[in-house]
Amino acid sequence: MSFDLRLRRRLGGRTIALDCVADARLIALIGPSGVGKTSILNMVAGLLRPDEGHVRIGGDTLFDSASGIDRPAEDRHAGYLFQDLRLFPHMRVDRNLRYGRRPDGALSEDDVLAFLGIGHLLHRMPSTLSGGEAQRVAIGRALLSAPRFLLMDEPLSGVDRARREEILRLIERVRDELRLPILYVTHDLHEAERLADRIVEMPDG
């Protein structure tokens, strides 16, 4: 089972929950705005503590309220593309990209730069990037951190059509060649259908 997620958490008066066991390479998480998709990613990444449940990915148990396991976020090796990007404002793009790099990274930096088309931005500060440029840098940072799995929160928002296709192909490569489990949030059904072997729709609670 690449994914075995069972999560429950109360947040501001509503309950956010997901039950999903699947041997999928890429799960697309869809659902209306505010249903809790980002919160689910935060729980899987170790940034938001579930009230109960467990998180198992690729056989690794990252969290289990029953047995008290709760691996800190820095040991979960998630490649997390945040919905709000969170580029480090005081570092140039190259330092942002290299921040999480580990020696055992399977993706080469040159590849990622080429696919994302950000090679010319390496010496820029994040505050000078356009929306789509920042989005692509954030994707690059997540990919280059030698992750064991990927969490991608609407990765193609703000990306133009031409780049879109290249990034989709990059994600497919990561999925197929590197075989990284991917949890993928999107509002675009086409995207979901193209990429995912499992689509999970979070119901409006």
Binding site: E74, F82, R86, H90
Partner: protein, 234 residues
């Protein structure tokens, strides 16, 4: 006004610089730790710690000096041990003057740093965490550089305060030429003599020049450290 400086004057200036720099350098990590604790931690005695940090600001400097004398004097609880164990005494030493200056500078340094630490976006630290950064690395690469404005402001305030510190210093370590006679102490001594206004003004101007230099340096460092970060598309 006559601005030629005697060798004694140069001694006073050098000593003031030494005392202030040592005070700020020593207090910097301590103040940052205190600021961090006050900004980030939550614990029962927090308000008390906060009050303690403000103490040297609230209590007149002479009283602070007097408390230092009680604590670090030959018979004081700390002073006697320092003497016994390390053969060190701070009394009448420039190190004592630096201690007094550091204590007086502490509340200003802590407050400035705390303000900056509190304005660091915690979401960035979370991002670093998912990228595998240990708490120490998160601190060094995210929190610390993002609170640099407060660190510079704190160091600058602390240095200025140290350069101006008088009451606690004279009460604790007295006025020993070449050892504890800093600029304010020289100024005060000059003020005791009728008609010494010229000497007072001279020393006061030197103090101001020193701090102006420190101000300049801190502004330049701060600008360099935050360059690019704030340049929104305007």
């Amino acid at each position: 006004m006559d601005f030629s400086l005697s060798p004694q004057d140069w001694t006073v200036i050098g000593l003031s610089l030494k005392v202030s720099l040592v005070a700020v350098a020593t207090m910097l990590p301590i103040a940052f730790a205190l600021a961090w604790i006050l900004a980030r931690w939550r614990f029962p005695g927090k308000l008390l710690l906060d009050a303690l940090v403000h103490l040297p600001l609230v209590v007149p400097p002479v009283v602070t000096g007097w408390l230092l004398l009680l604590l670090f004097g030959i018979n004081g609880p700390i002073g006697s041990r320092l003497d016994q164990w390390f053969g060190v005494t701070l009394l009448f030493r420039w190190t004592g003057a630096a201690l007094a200056a550091a204590i007086m500078a502490m509340p200003l340094m802590v407050r400035a740093m705390r303000l900056s630490i509190e304005s660091v976006d915690l979401r960035l630290e979370q991002a670093a965490q998912t990228l595998g950064a240990s708490p120490l690395r998160r601190f060094l690469s995210i929190s610390l550089p993002l609170s640099l404005p407060g660190i510079f402001a704190g160091a600058m305030l602390g240095f200025a305060r140290s350069i101006g510190e008088f009451g606690a210093t004279i009460t604790f370590v007295s006025d020993i030429p070449g050892e504890t006679r800093t600029l304010p102490i020289a100024i005060y001594a000059a003020l005791q003599v009728p008609g010494a206004e010229a000497a007072v003004s001279r020393f006061a101007i030197i103090s101001v020049l020193l701090s102006l230099g420190a101000l300049l340096i801190s502004e330049i460092l701060a600008r360099r450290a935050t360059r690019g970060r704030m340049s929104y598309v305007l």
